[in-house]
Subunit: 345 residues, 2 copies
């Protein structure tokens, strides 16, 4: 039976030593499997540990080595795509001793700095950063301090591994699908970005680039039309309102993310427009809700689950050997056609 003290006081190594009738040094030696402990001492200490329900503090263990803790930083907890990534990460860690802690970086560099410092302060053994917006120098500095894998950022650092969907190609696949249906006025809703580096590295910026490039390729350069909002449902709603107010509104709206497409659908329903009769709508990410029959959203599948499991595998490798060369993994997206896209009127 566990005999816990009645107060909120934590059981300490001193309690264990007293219970076992040995010194705290002896307890400490047994707990860290050090030399110089007799089988008799070991069994007494272990019995005392069990009786008192003592758990060696991770803080104490951290001073000697691994904490078996990994940190995941998400941009926000509302985009259901990140749950797919987390499922993949979790599955790869299931057979390990690692414990996963998540925290939100709030899509803001200041907040990300605070969050990543907190994770290092907690002696986490490794970090997975999802779509971080921090400057490359900050990411590099982080990766020098703790093994790091970055998801959703097309960086090339010798210090950390990256796992990405080929966002440029994925956007092109969706333009090809819509152009193939006969659409010309295909508009895009992007996540607004002004920072030069982020314009080169963030998935949202590469999707907008891929859209522009593909429009030119299909001879639709003159119809390029982008509403610049945010990758949220509100961003989709406002983006659609902007596009519907054009003199020549689009016949198809390609949203840069599925959450954005949900907002677009909301705006179209409100405006009394039918989908895909009046306007075709497509998203990106293929969140599980996209397959929901009442929505049935055409989207680009970037295999979030596989992104997550790949990142977890790379991180464990890097923790074991932090000198191995950085890996850049790029996964190929596929278009998933459902009910929200059809030929134009």
């Amino acid at each position: 039976m566990h005999q816990q003290p009645a107060t909120a006081r934590r059981v300490t190594i001193v309690d264990v030593a007293r219970q076992a009738g040995v010194s705290t040094t002896a307890v400490s030696k047994v707990l860290r499997d050090a030399y110089g402990t007799s089988p008799h001492m070991r069994s007494r200490v272990r019995a005392a540990v069990d009786e008192l329900g003592y758990r060696p503090s991770a803080a104490a263990r951290a001073l000697r080595g691994r904490t078996w803790t990994l940190g995941v930083m998400l941009p926000d907890v509302r985009n259901p795509f990140f749950a797919d990534i987390l499922d993949g990460v979790g599955e790869h860690l299931d057979d390990t001793e690692y414990q996963l802690f998540m925290t939100s970086g709030c899509n803001d560099a200041t907040s990300e700095a605070r969050v990543t410092e907190a994770m290092i302060d907690r002696s986490m053994d490794g970090l997975i950063l999802i779509a971080p917006v921090s400057p490359p120098a900050h990411l590099d500095r982080l990766a020098r301090t703790v093994p790091t894998v970055v998801i959703g950022r097309h960086s090339h650092s010798p210090r950390f591994d990256t796992v990405n969907d080929d966002d440029f190609t994925g956007a092109g696949l969706m333009v090809a699908h819509l152009a193939g249906l006969g659409h010309h006025r295909i508009a895009h809703i992007e996540h607004h970005e002004t920072d030069r580096i982020r314009l080169a590295e963030m998935p949202n910026a590469l999707r907008a680039d891929g859209y522009r490039h593909a429009m030119h390729q299909h001879g639709l350069g003159e119809h390029i039309d982008i509403a610049s909002t945010t990758y949220t449902r509100d961003g989709g709603y406002h983006g659609a309102r902007i596009l519907l107010d054009r003199k020549n509104p689009p016949t198809a709206i390609f949203a840069g993310a599925d959450v954005v497409a949900l907002g677009v659908l909301d705006a179209l329903t409100e405006a009394g427009l039918s989908v895909p009769g009046d306007v075709s709508v497509a998203g990106y990410d293929n969140i599980t809700l996209a397959g929901f029959r009442a929505i049935s959203l055409t989207s680009v599948d970037q295999a979030g689950h596989r992104i997550g499991s790949t990142a977890a595998r790379l991180l464990l490798e890097r923790i074991t050997d932090h000198t191995r060369p950085a890996a850049q993994v790029k996964l190929s997206p596929t278009a998933v056609v459902r009910g929200t896209t059809g030929p134009p009127r």
Copy 2:
């Protein structure tokens, strides 16, 4: 300028001492604001800390006191209702030094034990547990070790605070709404539960109880019909299939959670049934997606944001004074009527 060593090695107190030209004991004293440090020594040490970018390890600090870390355990990361709770928790902590780490307990007692032990091992200053399924003795033991607030479990322990929606009343509100529309065959989809204690304490069980009680109150006791699945979209889909296969299928389905209702809507669409023309559908939680026009789900609002901020407030109070009597906060739900419910044919 930050001069970081070129390797992945972490800057230690030894590096700071060398850079400052003082002993490690002196550095340690300065860092913990101890007596016996001269202004000159303090400025040299602080300059060295800045130059090297040294961050005192939370592990080392944890041995002396607070870690300024709070842990939140969620049952799963897919139910969007938990994002509302997290928003509320986060908002209350915005002006504090606390850092929030989340982890999933996977709706399973063994997994919860592992996760909560990990959070204690990491010396977290306090825990918020959302809808834990662990036995009361485990929750009590946890709360003796670390300040704890439990959300979504109708327990009465002197050791931890609880924040709950009045689930029994909430279910009654929805039955009253549906009965008021003229429905008699109102079915319920519950999260299957067999454990005696969980049947008395879990929100899902209290919602099922509230449903049964209200059906009797409205003289509809003979029409009580429950499909017992899980609080997931799959659970809603299968629950609806079970109910539609009845000899006398229901004219209204009250799902115990909005994610469940999404699965019900999916099954009805697949079966070619109109909502609310053929079948009315209601959920519980009022997730933001419920207000989405393409779904427009009637639901019970349990104010997830307020639940979260209340829990955070109670936890900070308890960290400051862990001897204060346990608080049981129960919030009142409201029915939110939207497009998925209407009179029966």
